[in-house]
């Protein structure tokens, strides 16, 4: 660092006047000497320029706005109040017993609610609801009718007895019908004469037919059940499609 310039200002003095010069409080002859030294000195001139640039840069940045909730947080952390002016007249809100119960069971219900909030659960619930409503529709139950249902205990007991009475009565009726039917069947069986026994030595109508195909076909048809398909086949034409006894194609 050069010790002194032509104007007689040492670098140490220049350094001491830096702050005043930057703050704009330096004037007169001292300011002229200061500026002359800055122009002439290869060390002090750039240093002054850097400091001035740094000062300008720092002055250029603006104040930041604190978060809106900061003051409230501070008040809550210190005096325990949100805001004295705004909330002072307001009494502390009373916590009802329902809220207290809710606060107690909330930790237990939180995992359940977490499951309930999942889309998979909502989908299952929707499907179940759809199924129930469909079954109710098919059964002829209308939800609007349920509003008129008397849910008093005595009415429910009465309803239970009436329903069970209906069931018993229905069962008794069915049993009576079956008994009548079985009696009628017995009477028919008793009044019908016994069928004559088949003649063993009856001659065959066509002795030339030795293939016995019709008889075999007859036996095959007897062995078939009621719902089994009947093949509409002929000896010469192959079967086209199986048909059930009711005439439906299978």
């Amino acid at each position: 660092m050069p010790g002194e310039t032509k104007d007689g200002m040492p670098c140490l003095e220049f350094d001491a006047l830096l702050t005043e010069a930057l703050d704009g409080t330096l004037g007169g002859e001292r300011l002229e000497r200061f500026q002359a030294h800055a122009r002439a000195c290869s060390a002090c001139g750039p240093l002054f320029a850097e400091i001035d640039a740094g000062r300008r840069l720092l002055k250029s940045i603006t104040e930041v706005e604190p978060p809106a909730h900061l003051a409230y947080n501070i008040l809550a952390a210190t005096s325990g109040l949100d805001t004295v002016r705004m909330h002072a007249p307001m009494a502390q809100p009373q916590v009802s017993w329902l809220d207290r119960v809710r606060a107690r069971i909330a930790p237990a219900l939180t995992p359940v609610f977490a499951v309930v909030r999942q889309p998979r659960f909502a989908m299952s619930f929707g499907m179940a609801f759809f199924s129930v409503s469909m079954v109710l529709n098919l059964a002829g139950v209308k939800v609007s009718d349920l509003r008129h249902v008397d849910l008093h205990p005595s009415a429910m007991v009465r309803g239970y007895h009436m329903t069970s009475g209906k069931v018993v009565k229905y069962y008794e009726n069915i049993r009576f019908v079956y008994q009548i039917e079985s009696k009628v069947r017995e009477i028919k069986r008793a009044t019908t004469p016994a069928e004559p026994a088949p003649q063993k030595d009856q001659p065959r109508k066509d002795n030339s037919n030795t293939s016995e195909q019709p008889d075999q076909r007859q036996e095959r048809n007897y062995s078939q059940g009621e719902n089994q398909p009947v093949l509409a086949s002929t000896p010469d034409v192959p079967p086209v499609a199986p048909v059930t006894a009711t005439g439906r194609f299978v």
Binding site: L18, T19, L22, L47, E50, I51, D52, A53, G54, R55, L57, L58, K59, S60, I61, T62, E63, V64, E65, P66, P67, L70, A71, N73, I74, L75, A77, T78, S79, L81, T83, V84, R85, A88
Partner: protein
């Protein structure tokens, strides 16, 4: 005074912005600034009865508490401090928007606004690169407009040292930014 809730609320309302800005510029992070500001007020609330009017202005006392907490925070976080460059991500201060942006300057063209914001972010990042002694000095002088005597009281150093630190801090900041822009160009 501690029992006077209204007075305390007035103190919080009047000083929280200033303290937040000091913390934000010193710590560099909005989250840290929030925590530190809250800590400052908690400490103030506990030690309000120790404030002596004759020993100095209330603002100086508040700033001294802030500065002491910032120094403690700096020491604690010394090992965990990030060493990112000036080219790293821009300021993380999400909640804090500069006042110049909140109040739109219609006379300023958009390009100039963007450039001003970018310069502000670069300066903020460069500020974090300064040593804490230089950083606190320039923050108090150039951002908080405190006079040298007040700064000397807060930092507990002579005025000459304060002036020297301020000028060294400014020069160092200019060099850092010059280096950065040179790298970019």
């Amino acid at each position: 005074m501690a029992g006077d809730a209204a007075a305390w609320e007035e103190i919080v309302r009047r000083y929280h912005r200033r303290i937040y800005n000091i913390c934000y510029r010193f710590a560099g992070s909005g989250d840290d600034a929030q925590d530190l500001t809250q800590d400052v007020f908690i400490k103030m609330y506990k030690t309000l009865d120790t404030y002596d009017v004759e020993r100095g202005a209330f603002m100086t006392w508040v700033t001294t508490i802030t500065r002491n907490l910032l120094v403690d925070h700096f020491r604690k976080s010394k090992h965990a401090r990030m060493t990112d460059s000036l080219d790293a991500a821009p300021s993380e201060h999400d909640g804090a928007m500069p006042l110049s942006e909140r109040i739109q300057d219609k006379g300023m063209p958009p390009d100039a606004q963007v450039q001003s914001r970018e310069t502000g972010e670069a300066v903020h990042l460069a500020l974090q690169k300064l040593s804490p002694e230089l950083r606190e000095a320039v923050i108090l002088r150039d951002l908080q407009d405190m006079d040298y005597k007040e700064i000397a009281t807060v930092l507990r150093v002579p005025e000459g040292t304060v002036k020297s630190r301020i000028n060294r801090g400014r020069a160092e900041l200019a060099r850092l930014l010059q280096r950065t822009y040179r790298q970019v160009v």
